[in-house]
């Protein structure tokens, strides 16, 4: 028999498409031909594969060689088809038994010396392979730990082609048992810097941050330079609730596609915190490319996306965030199809109140009313309407900088946050969402019921403080979170009042400040 068949997979965004690699060696003019809607990096595989096979001490006859990657309608990119192509050629010459490759999924890049190199996206591929009932996954040795995160499908990891052939011949196939047990969070806590204890003063802002994290609410800080906005934002990871395994795998899959995993400890065990510079492009933020790669919003999935100096971002870049903030995912449409990435993140943002930063301190602010309103106008209303909690961060007084007495540690705050999250999980156990922030408007009356006294407060606030219908819902959701932090099942008047205090200043204040 001169036909070899190997299964592999291609990534399209987060979606895994299975590819069958066929190799046929026949009599005819010696040539090496590859077909199947290939990108140029896949076509280059031919040279690598032939050299790698030769350097592994094997020989393939000089014949007419045709390689086909099917289905022909799927564009194939990347170097992960090297290994499947090599195995298909070897199988066609019976250098590898074809039976040994039945229902086996293979990915890997080859070096000229026959070594097998890491490829991105192993985790989602192995994940899908298990679902599809493959009996074995062959992955590069460098991706072994990552592939091992998926339970229920055996993984064969090899460092070189020669080693792989030995393993396949020796029939010593690994069992489904995990060789590398799920690593215990080495990379988890070490990634964090700082603690809320180090933030002096700003008690009100810390409280607001705690509420924002507890309910997953989008959070905006407004204040003069040096008031600790960035400092507080960067410490938000220290009070985020721990990840569940399912969520951790979800995040790890995204990082796997981007090739951003650590070799030995691939599992992402902490919620990501992505700080984005204001020169970021649309494509980098939401994902992009001909075949889209995940952007920052997806890398912040289940974690926090921090936009410092919000007013400096270009407006079109901020506007593209509107949709993913609502839908918790991003859909990118390209000629070849629609690519979907998860993007369920909490937005934290910081900005100055005016170009010089000191408004409304009339003694220090040197801005004209026109320049202030122009500055604030850089952030559009529809974008602001997705912010649930807005807090000012006033300049810190000198006396607050001394001594650390009485400041709470992040761990303490985190415990409260976790309790509040548990209450939410329990309440929404029958619903598709998990946090108060993602509570849909039509379910608000059911989950945020108010008593008579609370209704009266809302009515007063609506009239006296000019609340809008939009802020109304947000106030209720934030009040729900405050009640959860307080351990109460019903929203009480104190929770509601506090929530009203965190609302975003409405258009009147925002657009026309003087």
């Amino acid at each position: 028999m001169s036909l070899g068949m190997v299964y592999s997979a291609a990534l399209h965004g987060m979606e895994v498409k299975f590819i069958r690699v066929e190799a046929d060696l026949s009599n005819g003019l010696p040539m090496f031909h590859m077909v199947g809607y290939l990108s140029s990096e896949v076509k280059e595989a031919g040279e690598r594969v032939r050299t790698a096979i030769r350097n592994s001490g094997l020989e393939i006859p000089v014949k007419k060689t045709v390689i086909n990657l099917s289905p022909g309608s799927v564009r194939k990119r990347g170097a992960s088809f090297d290994l499947p192509i090599a195995l298909a050629i070897l199988a066609s010459q019976n250098l590898v038994r074809q039976e040994a490759l039945e229902r086996v999924l293979t990915v890997g890049e080859l070096g000229l010396d026959g070594s097998i190199r890491d490829v991105p996206g192993v985790l989602p591929i192995v994940w899908e392979a298990r679902k599809q009932g493959y009996r074995l996954c062959i992955v590069p040795a460098g991706n072994e730990a990552e592939a091992a995160l998926v339970e229920g499908v055996p993984v064969l990891a090899a460092g070189s082609l020669a080693q792989l052939l030995d393993l396949l011949e020796g029939n010593k196939l690994p069992s489904g048992k995990r060789k590398t047990a799920i690593q215990k969070g080495k990379n988890a806590e070490t990634a964090f810097v700082g603690d809320f204890q180090e933030v002096r003063g700003q008690g009100a802002v810390k409280r607001a941050a705690e509420i924002a994290v507890a309910g997953g609410h989008n959070f905006l800080m407004v204040g003069p330079p040096g008031s600790g906005k960035s400092m507080i934002a960067r410490r938000i990871p220290t009070i985020l609730p721990p990840l569940e395994m399912e969520e951790a795998l979800e995040i790890t899959k995204i990082y796997s596609v981007q090739g951003m995993l650590e070799k030995d400890t691939p599992l992402i065990r902490h919620r990501p915190f992505r700080e984005v510079h204001h020169t970021v492009t649309k494509a980098a933020l939401i994902g992009g490319g001909l075949i889209p790669a995940p952007g920052e919003i997806s890398l912040a999935h289940k974690g926090v996306l921090f936009l410092d100096e919000l007013t400096e971002f270009s407006r079109p870049v901020l506007e593209v965030l509107r949709q993913p903030l609502e839908e918790k995912r991003i859909r990118l449409t390209r000629k070849q199809g629609v690519y979907e990435f998860p993007a369920d993140f909490m937005l934290a943002a910081a900005m100055n109140p005016c170009p010089c930063g000191y408004y409304p301190d009339a003694g220090r602010c040197t801005c004209t009313p026109a320049s202030i309103s122009q500055y604030l106008g850089k952030v559009s209303q529809p974008f602001l309407s997705r912010i649930d909690i807005c807090m000012d961060t006033p300049a810190v007084e000198y006396r607050n900088l001394q001594g650390s007495a009485g400041e709470e540690t992040s761990e303490k705050i985190r415990q409260r946050v976790c309790l509040a999250r548990e209450r939410q999980l329990w309440r929404y156990r029958a619903e598709p969402w998990k946090t108060n922030a993602s509570l849909p408007a039509k379910k608000i009356p059911e989950y945020c019921a108010l008593g008579d006294k609370e209704e009266a407060i809302m009515e007063h606030a609506f009239q006296k403080m000019g609340l809008t219908a939009r802020t109304y819902h947000k106030v209720l959701k934030v009040a729900r979170t405050i009640a959860d932090l307080d351990g109460k099942d019903k929203i009480q008047s104190c929770h509601l009042s506090e929530a009203i205090g965190y609302r975003l200043p409405d258009t009147k204040y925002w657009g026309n400040l003087c």
Binding site: G203, N400, S497, Y502, Y509
Partner: protein, 371 residues
Amino acid sequence: MKYEYWLSCIRPLAGKKKELLRSSVGSARDVYYIEEKKLREMAFLTEKDRETIRNFQKKGDLETEYDRLLERGIRLVACHDPAYPRRLKRSAGYPYALFVKGRLPDDDRLSVAIVGARQCSAYGERQALRFAEYLAGRGVQIISGMARGIDGAAGRGAINGGGDTYAVLGSGVDVCYPAQNRGLYADITNRGGILSEQLPGTAPRKEHFPARNRIISGLADAVLVMEARERSGSLITADMALEQGRDVYALPGPVDSTLSKGCNRLIRQGAGILLGPEELLEEMVSEPALAALLPGEREGQRECEKSDKNKKVLESAENIVYSCLGLYPRDTSSLLEETGLSPAALMETLVALQIRGYIKEISKGYYIRTS
């Protein structure tokens, strides 16, 4: 009249010279048709002035230009016109002619100018509103510059008080600057008048403003400075007012507020101290005239009662927070420290006070008292 308009249009020629020229030949029409020889006889004109006049004589269609102004409700009042404000005529450096949209201030009624910083504090803004409202409600005409901040608040206060108010602009009378004051501009046009020495259509330029300030003080019997930084246009107005022999009053403010520095300095230099609109009126008006202006009212007592009432209704936490707040905005962090309340309790109290209208959030996280 169109010749008057023509004469007013000659911007490079000083107002004083125009007046001399006009009085020596008889009328604006005669100036228009003046002969070269006669022009040379005028000793006070320089060669350059003559050149300017000759150039302007060739200029376009006066009739239609002037008619178009009238159609838009803009009048021209030259300084020899009996309608020209008497107070202004008596002050140094009065303009040759004023363009007016609406009415001119009544010469027989008391008029007060209220000026101050464009970027003012909530305190200054509220006092400007209060003084203007009180005075306008008692028949005093309010003159201001319709700028942002204090001036605008004064205009608004006068309209709230149901009185007459006049704005002197640094641009043409048909140019609303700043554009946000469009509503106020319309109200002032209906309830008083917009005045300017600039030609209609002139854009606001910073060199126009000091000249505009001398008209403001010239039209008023007294000038009230609400808030002024140490180097500010309001102080220029105050200086001009003193030169013109007007009374200057300044609103005292905290000594550590940059916005009140100019005012406090004026007080030190001998300006009158503004303690309240009632006192001001008493000081400016003789006893019998005052009785006519104030038909048996004394508001002081009522306000005292009100603040007593405030105290009774407020709960203890609310009382603590309320007493920490004043006329200058306070931020949440400093309140937190001073009151010793928890962040949650403070936020709750602030909202409760807001709902009941005792305090106001002027910018995100900054609060002031409302009364």
